[in-house]
Amino acid sequence: MIVYMSMKHICLLGLALLIHSLGLVAQEEKIQQQPPPPAPSITAAYYGETIFHSGIKLGYERPFSSLLMEVRNHRYFYVSGNLGYVSHKTVYRAIFADAELGYRFFPLHWLRLGGWIGIGINRYGLSSPSYALQPNGEFEQISSGGARFMSSIGLEIGSQNQATTSFFLKPQLVSLSPHNTGSLKQLVLEIGISKPIN
């Protein structure tokens, strides 16, 4: 027990030192190198519904408004418009379009962190043949699917390089409704790149 407590304290002390060191590094880097001003970018990402049901998302993002920028502290609002496609083999295929509002800050000149909210439309079609009973008592193969309102909330962690390609990872919770009698929540993971276009 004594050994365990000692180890625990050592770990806590080490963690505190590490956080403190990172702070010092961040401060030093801020002094030496400020993150470049935000620029419009195009993005391309793997879009994994429930992480492993794969799709793709392409988008355009830009700083939201100079009035909302807090340039001094390197914190910016962004907006993005996106188009995507996701497939659950044998279940459904969906296309979607959404708009997102994001808030980013840069604890290190090469690191960006952020949060996003979004709304959009998701249109899916079933991947397997569908049959429905018709009024005449016969079954017919039909094309079936549906449209759903889509809202999302997510976090972002990424590299920051305004000159070349940056990488980012965005875990999100996406709500799709209507779904049966309510709404469906999906865990989504985006892994992508963004590239400045000016």
Partner: protein, 340 residues
Amino acid sequence: MACVPQEEIVEGIAVQEQFYLVHQGAQMPVLVEGNTESNTFILIVHGGPGGNAMVYNDLLGSFSNPLEEKYAMVYWDQRGSGNSLGNYGVESVTVNQFVEDLDVLVDLLFARYGQDIQVFLLGHSWGGTLTAAYLSQAGNQDKIAGWIEVDGAHNFPLINETTPAELIRTGREQIPAGNRVDEWTEIVDYCENLTQPLSLAEILQVNRYANVVESYLIEAGITTQSSLQLGEAVRFYFFSNHNFMTSFFNSSMTSRGLLEELVFNSYSEDMKEIRIPSLFLWGRHDLVVPPVLADDAFHAISTPPADKSIYIFEDSGHSPMAQQPEEFSLKLIQFVEKYR
């Protein structure tokens, strides 16, 4: 009766075919797997409400694979269950709507695979409720070659009365044996303080306890470990076509929607209309739906004694197809071979 769809019908000894039944706002996946040349179809009506049919296929292969060699197994995700999609109101979450869905699916199987096929219904847990309700309605049983009810919840008042008593009885055996003493003491104390009839909250709590003790009975060596393996479950939920988020949200929506209609209802009286061959398969140590329900079903239906039987799996709880899969498949095959 519906006609055969224009799409080519798939026949073979190792068919794997998925399609959707679209009905009253629900888009319900149906997987037909196995030997369609046998012309014998076993339609799995899963538990829940809000359960998942694909579990019986993907995770319980030691039960379903031997059956697929001989027959065509039909795995149907009911509305608001498994990977089902759609858009409908809460007014469609009723036992009658599920019965109608099942009836349309049976008609679709005949339309798709031919009028000469034979369809057996296997209802597990809530699936037992649903199949009992379906077969009790006029004309439906004429389409069905045989009924297999597995730990089926066709009489909730009887469950509500029996489960607390069984929890007390089992707890009093387990506490002196030193097995999960604190947990069993809590359960026994709770059940001893209940008065009949139970409230909805009490029914749910008793049901939770009955489900929890399934693992205690495995630990105590009274029932056998489920054939369901952790690795398979991880593969199923994360690396298959299955979407565990859809399944999770479906389950909570559907079970909540059906709860109040179900937990005070009994279908035993209606079941006197049932006259088809029937087999009641139960786990001896099922505390969720105790084996007394097998006797209740056996006596409730009007099937001649020669064509109905009960078989109790001595080392199983609520899911004998998971705990004694080989024996379960064998009993099922014997029944189907007799009546197909």
